[in-house]
């Protein structure tokens, strides 16, 4: 379901530049940029009154999920210091725009990977809360 919603939002996008490094692995800044991009798309879509109430609610749920993952990546970036990351972030957005235009499947896959990484990490930490005596 999440993949379907992400894919639908990616299709909505219209953008340009050249398609560069589409298959490159996505780092924390890349994941943050992708999540922000999808959250913004999701918010626009959730406000679209031409869509059914159910579709809007689904999109809203998706935005909520993305926001959780965003907090995770922000903490990871935060831990690396306070350096200027604007160039890396701008490059990530240029790449996202190109992918959204020409290869939205890759963009969806990359974003799903970002979300999965967050979910795996979340589970790992949550598991550390469970008593080992059980």
């Amino acid at each position: 379901m999440l993949r379907h919603t992400i894919a639908a939002l990616a299709l909505v996008s219209l953008a340009s530049p050249s398609l560069a490094a589409a298959a490159a692995p996505v780092d924390d800044i890349g994941c943050t940029a992708r999540l922000i991009w999808f959250i913004n798309k999701g918010r626009e879509s959730a406000k679209d009154t031409s869509k059914t109430e159910e579709a809007r609610a689904r999109t809203y749920g998706f935005v909520e999920q993305m926001r959780g993952a965003l907090g995770y990546y922000e903490a990871r970036i935060d831990a690396t210091g306070k350096a200027d990351r604007s160039q890396a972030f701008s490059a990530a957005f240029t790449e996202i725009s190109a992918l959204a235009d020409k290869d939205h499947e890759t963009l969806v896959d990359q974003t799903m990977t970002c979300v999965s990484q967050y979910e795996v990490a979340e589970k790992r930490v949550m598991d550390s809360f469970k008593s080992k005596k059980d």
């Binding site: 909520e64 959780g68 965003l70 907090g71 990871r76 200027d84 550390s128 008593s131």
Partner: protein
């Protein structure tokens, strides 16, 4: 394999496992509540669950439920922030006892005290998230 070769192999393996950034970047500054990052994660888990319940409570008005749902999403983002910080703290794989003790202590607080502590955690998380977002923005030419 001779000793120097083993040492060299180990050095390479250690340098790539499992996530080099994690040990180097373990957070040093912590929020001012009992349990630090773990304490805040526990507080937001509690808050998220409470808000989820409120969002599903059909005896509440639609606007109150929507408000609770939005607040639950906010809490989840803050929770994720602290979970990531915990993940960046290496070698800690058993937090059950500590987490439970923090949770029990938290439940003994008055509602006002609970809110105050959650605010401290939220301020910490939001301030740091805002700083990160600031470093991502293009700087205006002066």
């Amino acid at each position: 394999m001779n000793k120097p070769a083993i040492a060299a192999t180990l050095a390479v393996l250690l340098s790539i496992s499992p996530s080099p950034a994690i040990a180097q970047n373990a957070p040093t500054e912590t929020p001012a509540v009992s349990g630090g990052d773990l304490g805040c994660a526990v507080r937001f888990m509690f808050m998220g669950m409470t808000l989820d319940k409120a969002a599903q409570d059909t005896t509440k008005s639609e606007s109150a439920r929507t408000e609770a749902r939005i607040a639950a999403a906010d809490a989840r983002r803050d929770q994720a922030y602290f979970l990531a910080r915990l993940e960046l703290t290496p070698t800690k794989t058993d937090r059950a006892e500590e987490g439970l003790a923090i949770f029990s202590g938290f439940l003994k607080l008055s509602t006002d005290e609970m809110i105050k502590e959650i605010d401290l955690c939220r301020d910490f998380s939001r301030q740091h998230q805002a700083q990160v977002l600031q470093t991502l923005k293009k700087k205006e030419a002066k």
